[in-house]
């Protein structure tokens, strides 16, 4: 173990520079926020992930945000274990009918101000599962959504870009209408 730790001290870190801000989302936000200064590290957000019936593909890429390449904690983004500690609900899945009640209760447990990010094509409009007897539909059909990060699944960079845009918006205060990212 000592050798591994020592080798790592001698080596440049694997962690990569942040992705460039998502241009359309940033422009949209800038207009909405009345040119509020974009403060990249000015706020932190506590995130609570909720799987509302996804295939687990989105979860894998959300997990990847925590690996050393993306290292989201350096941006002040932190995954928390309870909705009561969260600012942001990160929701995946076509919202199955069997998860609808749990999603609503989790949303209600998040204190204000709060934001909801819908992840993936399923989170957007139920994706390939649209029309099933067992699915409600995109996350927005159950709780209000502030940001969609699309993709099947979205890459960690797409997720990070969306979350960084949200940090900038949250720095300005109240939630605003949905923005599409990535």
């Amino acid at each position: 173990m000592r050798r591994i730790l020592f080798d790592n001290l001698m080596r440049a870190p694997l962690t990569e520079p942040p992705p460039p801000p998502d241009a359309p989302a940033a422009a949209h936000l800038a207009a909405q926020l009345n040119d509020v200064a974009f403060r990249r590290l000015g706020r932190s957000l506590a995130i609570r992930a909720v799987d509302a019936g996804s295939c687990n593909g989105c979860e894998l890429e959300i997990h990847a945000l925590n690996n050393v390449f993306y290292d989201v904690e350096r941006y002040g983004l932190r995954f928390v274990a309870s909705p009561r500690h969260a600012d942001v609900l990160l929701v995946t899945g076509p919202v199955t009918k069997n998860m609808q009640a749990a999603l609503i209760r989790t949303y209600q447990a998040v204190p204000e101000p709060k934001w909801v990010v819908a992840v993936g094509e399923c989170g957007f409009d139920a994706g390939v599962f649209a029309g099933s007897y067992a699915c409600v539909g995109g996350v927005a059909s159950v709780i209000p959504v502030d940001l969609h990060v699309r993709g099947c699944p979205p890459t960690p960079v797409a997720l990070l870009t969306g979350l960084l845009a949200l940090i900038e918006r949250s720095a300005a205060g109240a939630p605003s209408p949905p923005v599409a990212s990535a």
């Binding site: 996804s54 749990a102 599962f129 099933s132």
Partner: protein, 504 residues
């Protein structure tokens, strides 16, 4: 003595089924199959519904798979679960979806149906549902027992499911899982779907196994329609399957150690996993390789495959051994993993549990070997086996499988290099006019995935995908008995069962 398999010869065969034999049986033989399962002479590979009938896939000793089909005009059939408990949840699901009930099914509680769909028996004769009922967990009776309800929303970034612990202080007396939260109605969406759409659905049954599912589904379709896959595509498919196994095993080894608070392993294994996904993205244009396996082959030629994956293999071969050594020499970590969450060999054999769960408890089964399919039938690899059945054994199986996947990947790349160029995908025009039925069993990182399809006029008349987790979830419950609550995450991660794959 006339064996059960011999007596099937008198039944009408399912003519259209490829590549394994199938029979239309009567209630007597169906019941006898249950007896054979209970006696351990057959293994249960799947049990599911179709219009007006129930179907059961069996592992027989040959080894091969046999499909049995029983018409159920009355809506009732002899329960297999009453003879062979591994069928229990499958029969409960069958009842929820199709309204077909096993006579004398010992557990009558709904399984996938939580009363939220607005209708009952959605794939049978749908009728209005009376709504959610209180779900009664199996009781545990004794002094000083308390219950710990967990989920469906869990503390980490994981899938939803409910766990009900009965504990005495820290010691778990009984764990019972309640699943079905991620049920998306995939079997229903499959009916009538054009093949391409059905394949997209198959690739999204369990995202971590998207390659394994697409591979198995395509093999079932190709068997049904007699499609020959070009040699390059066969190798590329296996290359993707081994990348998927590498990525998931690396991720799991780190994550299990992390659940014993050994974060160093997680950091390094997470980096390895990320390297695999980036290589997959560089070659196949998608980190998880979704939708890259198509009916008749693979979507494109993927010209970058050899150099990129050679670099990746060399990279992992350099970085993985020190991590194995780290695991092997950290006694404080092994103090948590050794002897924790033991599954005994008899239970694994009874449930015909696949993957690392089976192979860590002495069941030497790997679909790539036992029911070898191309290209694995001509590649050299070992199927690791352990008998301890604890968390440690499930970690070691993964470690050894990482090495075997690298060995396979090297052979695949050598062949791709030496091979004459061929189209990435077979021409399909003639084949799509055919009708047929196909079965396939493929080895995903978690275990064997069963795929069954019935095709008519270019569409699925019926399709079913059985996740290995069906025969692993019940053993997690058995493994945790007598362990402490704090070791549950560790045990759970060492199983890493799929919720979505199970719930469908």
């Amino acid at each position: 003595m006339v064996t059960f398999v011999d007596s099937l010869a008198s039944c009408p065969p399912i003519e259209a089924l490829r590549p394994w034999p199938g029979f239309i049986v009567d209630e007597d033989l169906w019941r006898r199959a249950g007896d054979e399962l209970a006696a351990g002479r057959l293994g249960l590979a799947g049990l599911w519904g179709d219009r007006g009938c129930v179907q059961m896939a069996l592992f027989s000793a040959q080894p091969t798979i046999i499909l049995l089909r029983l018409a159920v005009p009355s809506g009732r059939f002899p329960s297999i679960a009453s003879l062979h408990p591994p069928a229990m949840r499958l029969e409960r699901a069958l009842h929820d979806l199709y309204g077909l009930s096993g006579e004398a099914l010992p557990d009558q509680r709904p399984w996938l149906d939580h009363g939220n769909w607005g209708l009952a028996e959605p794939l049978g004769t749908p009728r209005p549902h009376r709504g959610p009922d209180r779900y009664g967990f199996l009781p545990a009776i004794g002094p000083m027992l308390h219950q710990i309800p967990v989920g469906p929303v869990h503390a980490g970034i994981i899938e939803p499911g409910h766990f009900r612990f009965f504990a005495n202080g820290e010691t778990i007396v009984r764990l019972e899982a309640r699943l079905g939260y991620t049920h998306k109605g995939i079997d229903g969406l499959m009916v009538g779907a054009p093949l391409e759409r059905a394949l997209r659905l198959a690739g999204r049954v369990s995202g971590d196994s998207t390659v394994a599912y697409a591979f198995a589904f395509c093999r079932a379709v190709e068997a049904a329609l007699a499609i020959d896959v070009p040699p390059r595509a066969v190798l590329l498919r296996a290359g993707m399957a081994e990348l998927e196994r590498l990525a998931n095993h690396c991720g799991d080894i780190g994550a299990i150690c992390n659940d014993a608070s050994f974060a160093l392993m997680q950091a390094h294994c997470g980096a390895l996993r990320e390297r695999v996904l980036r290589a997959a993205d560089a070659v196949f244009g998608h980190r998880l390789m979704m939708d890259r396996i198509v009916i008749g082959g693979v979507a494109e030629d993927y010209a970058a495959v050899v150099p990129v994956l050679r670099d990746l293999a060399a990279d992992i071969e350099r970085q993985f051994p020190p991590l194995i050594e780290l695991y092997d020499k950290t006694t404080s970590l092994q103090d948590r993993t050794v002897g924790t969450g033991i599954v005994n060999a008899a239970l694994v054999a009874r449930y015909a549990s696949g993957g690392y769960v089976g192979r860590a408890s002495g069941r030497h089964f790997d679909a790539r070997r036992a029911l070898a399919y191309a290209p694995y039938d001509s590649l050299a690899f070992d199927v690791p086996l352990r008998t301890q059945g604890d968390v440690d054994a499930r970690i070691w199986i993964r470690i050894e499988e990482v090495n075997q996947s690298l060995r396979l990947l090297r052979q695949i790349l050598d062949r791709l290099e030496a091979q004459q160029p061929s189209a990435p995908r077979a021409a399909l025009s003639d084949h799509l006019a055919r009708n047929g039925e196909g079965l396939a069993l493929g080895e995903g990182f978690r275990g064997d995935v069963l795929a069954w399809v019935r095709i008519a006029d270019g569409r699925l008349e019926g399709g079913h995908l059985r996740d290995p987790s069906w025969f692993q979830w019940p053993l997690l419950e058995a493994s945790i008995e007598g362990n402490i609550v704090a070791d549950f995450p560790l045990c759970n991660k060492s199983f890493n069962c799929s919720y979505s794959g199970h719930d469908r």
